[in-house]
């Protein structure tokens, strides 16, 4: 584990934070890093939420009140030290997925699961992408404005769907007042194609349900990549 200095612990919402660390090294968008508050602790794994070109490295996290690490992360201030385990992981886009110009890469996430897709988006995308993000309320729709702006600038290449399971005030471009799984079943599946590739990131429950929805319309398991937060 390597000691790193915290550059920023930005408040994103009541329980959400973006932690930016001073770190110089390479990673592939989609990879994760291990974090711990002391050198000997077992690291907890977080998707990187920034692009390799940005200064430092960011992770998105929410407070888990009885969690082992996040209550301690919440208290960290710029200048504090945290311990990092090098980027790892293979939840990354494959060039082969976009060789067919008629195919789309779907990014489906709930909660902080949007992080790896933000890293990929900021790093530059090739081919058509569709991001579907499930959140409870508009306040938990992390990176919403950034995603809406990108979708507006690149209508042909990138579309953004925000599904609010509890929010009632989120009407706007790409915002749906329904659960992610409900939207997927009622509208999303009409957009799915057999040649598309589906990347899922977030909680086990979401991933299992989305896989079953995709499977029910004939999407093969080889077309689905999943990163489960555990």
């Amino acid at each position: 584990m390597t000691p790193c200095t915290i550059l920023e612990n930005r408040v994103l919402g009541p329980k959400g934070r973006l932690l930016r660390l001073e770190w110089q090294g390479s990673f592939i968008p989609g990879q994760v890093i291990g974090l711990a508050v002391n050198r000997d602790a077992t690291p907890r794994w977080y998707s990187i939420a920034s692009s390799p070109e940005e200064e430092g490295l960011s992770i998105l996290y929410t407070l888990v009140e009885d969690g082992e690490l996040t209550p301690r992360l919440f208290d960290l201030v710029p200048g504090s030290t945290i311990y990092l385990q090098e980027p790892r992981g293979q939840f990354v886009e494959q060039a082969a997925w976009v060789r067919n110009p008629a195919s789309t890469i779907w990014w489906i996430a709930n909660g902080t699961g949007i992080a790896p897709f933000v890293s990929m988006l900021r790093s530059g995308i090739q081919g058509s992408h569709r991001l579907v993000h499930g959140a409870r309320t508009i306040e938990e729709a992390w990176f919403r404005e950034e995603c809406q702006a990108r979708a507006s600038e690149n209508k042909d290449l990138f579309s953004y769907h925000l599904c609010l399971s509890q929010g009632k005030n989120g009407r706007g471009q790409g915002i749906h007042e329904s659960r992610l799984t409900s939207w997927l079943q009622s509208e999303g599946t009409r957009l799915c194609k057999a040649q598309d590739h589906y990347m899922l990131c977030g909680s086990a429950g979401m991933i299992v349900e989305v896989r079953e929805i995709l499977g029910s319309i004939g999407i093969k398991h080889e077309s689905i990549s999943s990163e489960i937060y555990f």
Partner: protein
């Protein structure tokens, strides 16, 4: 739900506590430390069901135990019996969680398959437990309770940690239960009678190998990276080659066995090239390979390999020097066979309103 389980939600349970925790409590009560060993033996060696049975403790100590703890053993809520003699037990695990365990008798032995979590986070696409998501970890007491409550307990010769959940994702509960099972003052089971099965989480795996001599089974299910990713999301973060590299630093034998579990899916991972590649990547590891018939679960497009293909696969591995067995499927008619344990139907969607998907 039985009454002892209802009581267990709100009061601390003694069953499952380790010697250190019991000793801390005993000393805080002004009692000599050796009383802790006596309590430990009553709980785990003698398996008492009430504090009143702890006859070599003073009345005062028993009264203190009674007022501050519940003993915490629970009986199964229900049992299903298969035509082949396998039994599946359902346990309440507190706070609307349920788990299942399987008792698998043979003429010369009997195996108990225990669960370590209610549900599972790992999301393997072929597993029924994965379909229910994750409800929580079991503590050490809830894990060993699956043995202690078993009517057939005296027949149990082997315990396998192959039920619901990923054991190494619940290090506290799993390790706590192993310590009770293998403690000479506890259940006093030989390490060679216990097998832990895991998909391979490196940190906890290393900790397991350092502390315990019980057997280890690794769920591999494909020798190819990309294919394993599509079956088991964990492959994205902890590829099997990392696990294999770690294992090569340890020694294994008949008394401390390493095996690999390989569920066979028709036209997915059952080709001769899969067998050859499996043999190649396991080269250098003294291990057994268990080929497992796949029991279909809803929600995926996988089917089990035909028996003939499994045998051909086995032959290739045996020719390459691997002790390879085709596991006999047990309890399929009661959904107790490998990959079929699930308490999804019992979950009340009380958290529907709080989910973000």
């Amino acid at each position: 739900m039985n009454q002892s389980a209802v009581k267990s939600i709100s009061e601390p349970r003694l069953f499952g506590k380790d010697l250190g925790a019991i000793e801390s409590w005993v000393v805080a009560k002004g009692e000599p430390a050796f009383r802790a060993k006596q309590i430990y033996e009553w709980l785990y060696a003698k398996g008492v069901r009430s504090f009143s049975e702890m006859s070599n403790l003073s009345e005062k100590l028993r009264a203190n135990l009674e007022s501050e703890w519940i003993l915490g053993r629970t009986e199964a809520d229900s049992v299903s019996e298969s035509a082949d003699g396998t039994k599946k037990y359902l346990f309440a695990a507190g706070n609307k969680k349920y788990i299942e365990s399987a008792y698998i008798p043979e003429p010369d032995r009997a195996t108990l398959c225990v669960s370590t979590q209610a549900g599972c986070k790992m999301g393997c696409i072929f597993c029924a437990t994965a379909r229910q998501g994750f409800q929580g970890n079991l503590d050490a007491g809830q894990i060993v309770n699956q043995l202690y409550s078993l009517p057939e307990r005296e027949r149990i010769s082997n315990i396998v940690y192959m039920g619901m959940g990923e054991p190494l994702d619940n290090q506290d509960g799993t390790f706590g239960s192993l310590r009770i099972l293998m403690n000479p003052r506890g259940a006093n089971m030989a390490a060679r009678r216990i097998t832990l099965s895991t998909i391979g989480l490196p940190g906890p795996l290393e900790a397991y190998l350092k502390e315990f001599d019980s057997h280890l089974a690794i769920s591999i299910h494909s020798p190819f990276d990309d294919e394993r990713k599509s079956l088991m999301p964990i492959q994205h973060v902890f590829p099997i080659k990392d696990t294999l590299g770690l294992l090569k630093g340890y020694s294994f034998s008949d008394h401390h066995r390493l095996s690999f579990e390989y569920i066979m899916f028709d036209k997915v991972n059952d080709s001769p090239s899969h067998a050859r590649e499996l043999a190649r990547i396991l080269s250098g590891l003294p291990c057994r390979i268990n080929l497992i018939h796949y029991h279909s679960v809803p929600g995926n497009d996988l089917q089990g390999s035909p028996r003939a293909d499994m045998e051909a696969f086995q032959t290739i591995l045996k020719d390459k020097g691997y002790n390879t067995t085709i596991r006999r499927s047990r309890g399929e008619d009661i959904q107790a066979a490998c990959g079929l344990l699930s308490t999804k139907a019992l979950l009340r969607n009380t958290d529907q309103d709080t989910r973000d998907w």
